[in-house]
C-alpha cells in the first residue's frame, strides 16, 4: 500500500491550503486524523508486516530469511497455475453470466411489462440475503439425497442417480458458479437498469420513425449507452469475484480435490491448514501485486478518481 502512504505524506508535507477562513486547524485534524490513523493502522502496517513476513520461511516458529524463496517455490509449483486458472475461470464465468442475465432482465424490465415492478422488487432479494443463506439454499437444492433439483431430474428421467453437485469433479465449479451468479446477477441488473432508464425515449421514437428494426435500435442506441457500464461491471466485478473467498469456502472448501480451489482459498489453506505463514503471505503478496496491476489498468481506462478530485 505504498501508494497510499506516499499520498498521505505528500498531503501532509505540501502546503495545506484551504479556503480563506480562520480557525480551522482543529477541524482539519478532526477530518483527516481518523482516516489517516485508520489506514495506517489497519491497512499499511499489516500489509507491510505481511510482505516482510513473506520473505521468511516458517516465520512464526523459527524465522529463516529466504528472500524471494517463498515466491519462487510458489510460482514454480505447477499447482499454483492450476489455482490461478480456477480463479480466472470462476471470475470470468460468474461475471459473464451475471452480466448476461442482468442485462437480459434489465432489458425486459425496461419494456414496462405487467409485473415489471414486482419483478424488480424481487431482484432485491439476492442482493439482500447474506451469502451464508444463499449457500444454504443452494446446498439444499443441489443436495444428492433430498435436493429438489435431483428429485426433479430423476423424476424427469434425465438422470439415473442423483448427482452430488458440490462434491463431483465436473459439477463442483459449475455449481459454485451458479450459486454465485444467483446472488450477484442482481448487481449487474440494477446498475444496467439505471443506465437504461436514463436513455432518452425520444431516441427510440426517432429510430422507429426512420425505420430501424429492434435489433438495430439495440445495437445503435442502447448498446453504446451501456458500453461504459458493462465495461465497469466486467472489470470491477471481475476483480471482486477473483478475490472472493466466502462463497467457495462455504460451499466446497475448495474441493473436491482442489477442483474449486482458487487463489483466495489457497491463501487460507496455506495459513490455517498447512500453517505455513511464509507461503501464505507470499501468495497474498502475489495477489496484491496482481491486483495492483489490474488497478493501474482500471485507473488508466476509466479515471474514476475524477469524480471527486
Amino acid at each position: 500500500m505504498s501508494t497510499a502512504l506516499k499520498s498521505r505524506l505528500a498531503a501532509a508535507g505540501s502546503a495545506l491550503r484551504e479556503r480563506d477562513v480562520d480557525g480551522t486547524t482543529l477541524l482539519l485534524a478532526a477530518c483527516f486524523v481518523p482516516m489517516l490513523a485508520f489506514f495506517v493502522v489497519v491497512w499499511v502496517i499489516p500489509i507491510v508486516y505481511a510482505l516482510g513476513m513473506s520473505l521468511f520461511a516458517s516465520p512464526v516458529r523459527s524465522p529463516e530469511f529466504v528472500g524471494l524463496g517463498n515466491y519462487a517455490e510458489l510460482l514454480g509449483n505447477g499447482a499454483f497455475w492450476g489455482f490461478l486458472w480456477n480463479s480466472v475461470v470462476y471470475a470470468v464465468a460468474t461475471t459473464g453470466l451475471s452480466l448476461v442475465i442482468g442485462l437480459g432482465l434489465a432489458l425486459v424490465i425496461n419494456q414496462r411489462i405487467r409485473g415489471g415492478d414486482a419483478l424488480r422488487t424481487l431482484m432485491i432479494f439476492p442482493y439482500l440475503l447474506p451469502t451464508l443463506v444463499v449457500i444454504f439454499m443452494w446446498k439444499f437444492i443441489l443436495d444428492p439425497n433430498i435436493g429438489i433439483l435431483n428429485q426433479f431430474l430423476v423424476d424427469a428421467g434425465l438422470i439415473d442417480k442423483p448427482i452430488a453437485f458440490f462434491s463431483t469433479l465436473e459439477f463442483a465449479m459449475p455449481a459454485v458458479v451458479v450459486t454465485s451468479v444467483w446472488k450477484f446477477a442482481s448487481f449487474a441488473f440494477f446498475i444496467l437498469l439505471a443506465r437504461l432508464q436514463a436513455i432518452d425515449p425520444d431516441l427510440y421514437e426517432r429510430a422507429r420513425v426512420e425505420g430501424a428494426t429492434t435489433w438495430q435500435a439495440f445495437r445503435d442506441i442502447t448498446f453504446p449507452h451501456l458500453r461504459g457500464a458493462i465495461l465497469i461491471i466486467l472489470l470491477v466485478r471481475g476483480i471482486w469475484m477473483f478475490n472472493k473467498f466466502d462463497i467457495i469456502y462455504l460451499s466446497t472448501r475448495g474441493g473436491p480435490l482442489q477442483q474449486t480451489t482458487t487463489l483466495p482459498i489457497r491463501v487460507y489453506q496455506l495459513a490455517f491448514s498447512e500453517v505455513n505463514f511464509g507461503m501464505a503471505t507470499a501468495l497474498a503478496g502475489v495477489m496484491f501485486f496482481l491486483l495492483a496491476g489490474v488497478a493501474v489498468v482500471y485507473f488508466r481506462a476509466f479515471a474514476p478518481e475524477t469524480e471527486v478530485a
Binding site: D20, V21, D22, G23
Partner: protein
C-alpha cells in the same frame, strides 16, 4: 448602522499548481456610507472576488479593507457585521423558512421571543408571512430569494452584500425583486454593495456604479455620469443597450479646420477644441442619439440587415460601408427592411471621441479630463 467602505490597493491572487491568476489588481475604492453601489462587469472582471473580500470569505493577498475607521482586512466573516445574499440563494434545506431567517439571530444568542418578532417583521416587509412555516423545497425561486433577503434584513447589518441574487430568476421576478431590494435599502440603515453582470440592474438601482475590467477599476460614477461621460471605449460599450457604435476614423487637418474622416462620412470639429490634429481615433455614438434623415452635422448611410420592432421604437442592426456594424434606435425606422439603405445623422455634442489607447479624448466638444471627478463618488479613475 451603515458604514463607509474603503478599499486600499487591494490585490487578490489565486495560485494553482504554478499558475498565478490575478483576480483583483490593486483596486482602490471608496464607497460612501448608506449608499447603494453596484459592481458590474463581464465574467472574470473580479467583482465577485471583491465582494467576497468585503464579506471576509476571501482574504486579500495585499492591501486593506476598512469599514469606516476599522481595518477589517483580517477579520473573519463571523466577526464582521455584514449580511450576504448568495447567487445560489443558499437556504438551509433542513430548516423551515422561519428558522432560515432567524438562524443568524440564534447564533448571536437573541432570545426566541425577540427573534420571532424580528422574523415576523422581516416577513411582513418581504411579503412572505404565509411561507414562514414551510420548507425551502416548497417555495418558488422568487419566494426563496425573498427568504434569503429576509435573513439578511433581520441581521440589521452595517453592510449588505448581494452576489448576483437575480441570475436564476425570470424577467418578471427580476423586476419585482429590483423594487423589493430598493425598498429594503430605504428601510435599513445600511450600505448596500450589489454585484451583477447585468448593466440594466446596475443602472436602475444604484447610487454609484463601479465598472471593473480584469480586476481593475474602469470607472466609478453615478449611473447617469457613466452613461453620458464614459472615460473609455470599454465603459461606453459596456453601459447602454444596445452598445455604443464605435467607428474607426482618421484625423485630417485641412483648411477649414480639423475633421474626423470615417467610412462614408466626415465630421468637422469646431475651431477652438483641444483635439488631436493627426492620427487615428475612434468615434463613439449611441444608437439612441442617431436621427433619421440628414439634419445633423454628420451624415452617414447604414445598410440595414436586421430590424427589431419593440413597439414604441425599433432597433436597426446594420453595417457601414466598410463593414463596421452599426445600430440605430429610433421611432422613425419602423418600416425599414433588410437591404434598405438608411440615412442617419448626429451631432458632435452627442458623440465620444476615443484615442487609440481606448481612453476618451472628447465628450462631444468637451475635452475629457476637464471635468473633475464628481464629489461623493470618490473613485480614483486611472
Amino acid at each position: 448602522m451603515a458604514t463607509s467602505i474603503h478599499l486600499d490597493t487591494v490585490r487578490k491572487e489565486f495560485r494553482t499548481l504554478g499558475n498565478t491568476h490575478v483576480a483583483v489588481d490593486d483596486l482602490s475604492l471608496d464607497i460612501p456610507e448608506g449608499s447603494f453601489t453596484t459592481f458590474v462587469g463581464p465574467s472574470g472582471c473580479g467583482k465577485t472576488t471583491t465582494l467576497r473580500m468585503l464579506a471576509g470569505l476571501e482574504t486579500p493577498t495585499s492591501g486593506t479593507v476598512s469599514f469606516g475607521d476599522e481595518d477589517v482586512t483580517d477579520l473573519p466573516p463571523q466577526e464582521r457585521n455584514v449580511s450576504m445574499v448568495f447567487q445560489s440563494i443558499a437556504l438551509y434545506p433542513h430548516m423551515s423558512v422561519r428558522e432560515n431567517i432567524g438562524y443568524g439571530l440564534k447564533v448571536h444568542g437573541v432570545p426566541k421571543a425577540e427573534r420571532d418578532e424580528r422574523i415576523d417583521e422581516a416577513a411582513a416587509v418581504l411579503q412572505i408571512e404565509e411561507q414562514l412555516e414551510k420548507m425551502p423545497a416548497e417555495l418558488s425561486g422568487g419566494q426563496q430569494q425573498r427568504v434569503a433577503l429576509g435573513g439578511a434584513f433581520v441581521q440589521d447589518p452595517d453592510v449588505l452584500l448581494l452576489d448576483e441574487p437575480m441570475s436564476d430568476l425570470d424577467a418578471k421576478l427580476k423586476s419585482d425583486l429590483r423594487v423589493e431590494i430598493q425598498r429594503l435599502h430605504q428601510e435599513l440603515d445600511t450600505t448596500v454593495v450589489y454585484v451583477t453582470h447585468d448593466q440594466t440592474e446596475a443602472m436602475t438601482m444604484s447610487d454609484h456604479v463601479v465598472l471593473l475590467r480584469d480586476g481593475e477599476l474602469a470607472q466609478v460614477d453615478p449611473p447617469k455620469q457613466l452613461f453620458d461621460y464614459p472615460n473609455s471605449e470599454y465603459v461606453a460599450q459596456f453601459i447602454g443597450m444596445p452598445s455604443t457604435n464605435v467607428v474607426d476614423c482618421a484625423v485630417e487637418a485641412g483648411d477649414g479646420g480639423t475633421a474626423l474622416v470615417g467610412p462614408g462620412f466626415e465630421l468637422s470639429l469646431p475651431a477652438g477644441i483641444d483635439a488631436p490634429t493627426a492620427g487615428r481615433v475612434r468615434l463613439g455614438i449611441r444608437p439612441q442619439y442617431l436621427d433619421v434623415g440628414s439634419d445633423g452635422a454628420c451624415r452617414l448611410s447604414v445598410d440595414v440587415e436586421v430590424v427589431e420592432t419593440l413597439g414604441t421604437e425599433s432597433v436597426v442592426h446594420g453595417r457601414l460601408e466598410d463593414g463596421t456594424s452599426f445600430d440605430v434606435v429610433s421611432d422613425a425606422v419602423d418600416d425599414a427592411v433588410a437591404g434598405d439603405r438608411l440615412d442617419v445623422s448626429f451631432d458632435l455634442a452627442n458623440a465620444f471621441v476615443f484615442g487609440e489607447d481606448g481612453e476618451t479624448i472628447l465628450f462631444g466638444s468637451e475635452r475629457a479630463g476637464e471635468r473633475s471627478s464628481p464629489a461623493g463618488a470618490g473613485g480614483v479613475t486611472p
